[in-house]
Symmetry: C3
Subunit: 171 residues, 3 copies
């Protein structure tokens, strides 16, 4: 792959594909792997992060080290994604199709996930596919999120349960 | 370390030691660290993956980003290993031996783990040492697996519990 | 960033900033990102590890692959940090300040964490900020540690609970 020399890169050993769209004042640190994604103005991308094609990150977000943001994920503005956070876009992942060959795009349906403005996702949290995390919500460190999280709610645990707030409001 | 120029590498910044055995049509993406391991035909290795010496991966597997596969792990064909999955080969890890010096190979016994054909291990799961994960089993995202998983069973949680299937069958 | 050529580096593609203090016989493997931190004699740093400015690691520790050690963390001698372990230094992380601009150092207070001599922290564990993990304590794989851990105690789960030992002793 041809490596881009772009002013957003503050670190070393980065792979940023030609098709990545970067807003102004994005900062990309060392060991980052970006392809086919969109990153909004002023967002910071930590070390050892991968963001896949089709993912969209808003403005003034912090995407912390060792996180993985997959195809189908849309993150609005001012969202905090902690270290080691992983998103998922597939309900029943399998390596191969029934025929025994490796699965391809034709074999699965991407389950889209939306993280609304100002939400914070704690370190090492895992976010299952097809969910919405509401505005200003907080996902505790290490949580495994299996359901939508309402606006302003705080959730934690495995599986994640509501600790406070957010009742009666849709995400 | 001398870096190999091999056709399996699709990304940049990879470290593949001379002693790695790669089957045909293996695909290795960016930021991968492989040494002393064996990877079967058609298997894909995602970014930020480390596979240690003595580990064996079968054919047509997907080994997703940020996963770690240690010495003592054998993965059969058509297995899905999710993002951030970590294997363990040591029941009571310690940095140093009783003498205070760093532990060496002589100070521990590798606890082998076997993942049978067609199993799927969800994102951010942790697999303790000395276990067998049965054919076609599904380990949920974020699970901490502390016991064997039976053929076709679905497990999830911390510690992982059986959600469905797999009763009465050995792994 | 100018890359250092230092004898401690055993791997490839490492970023070690000029201000890192390394004791004798430190070993740094591939894909490591260190800045402003201190690493004691004989300690090993695995692949895909980031250690931030202000963190201090003692002597004869093992810092395993994919771990993240943040500002405010002090690790004493002979500590084992497992693969994928993440520390936290912020109780309520947010991407932006109330004004909407990205948070800076002035917007948060680092919650310091201390890991005492000879402790072992299991793979994929998450350690919240402001805690002490006692001498010789064991944190189970996948644990989410939200309280202090006493000397010699064993904790596991999400949130982590005491499985054995360590009662009546302060950390």
């Amino acid at each position: 792959m041809k490596l881009r020399k772009i002013s957003a890169i503050r670190g070393d050993f980065c792979v940023v594909a030609e098709d990545v769209k970067l807003g102004p004042e994005v900062a990309i640190y060392s060991f980052v792997n970006l392809y086919g994604c969109e990153i909004g103005a002023g967002t910071k991308i930590g070390s050892f992060v991968e963001i896949q094609k089709g993912a969209r990150i808003g403005r003034y977000c912090k995407i912390s080290s060792h996180s993985f943001i997959c195809e189908g994920v849309v993150i609005e503005d001012e969202v905090f994604v902690g270290h080691g956070v992983k998103f998922i876009n597939d309900k029943y992942p399998r390596a191969t199709a029934a025929s025994g060959r490796l699965q391809t795009k034709a074999d699965w349906k991407v389950e889209p996930t939306l993280v609304r403005q100002g939400a914070s996702i704690g370190t090492n949290a895992t976010i299952l596919g097809g969910l919405t995390i509401g505005r200003g919500a907080i996902v505790g460190a290490g949580a495994v999120v299996t359901k939508n999280v309402r606006t302003g709610a705080v959730v934690a645990g495995n599986p994640a349960r509501v600790l406070s707030g957010g009742r009666g409001k849709s995400p």
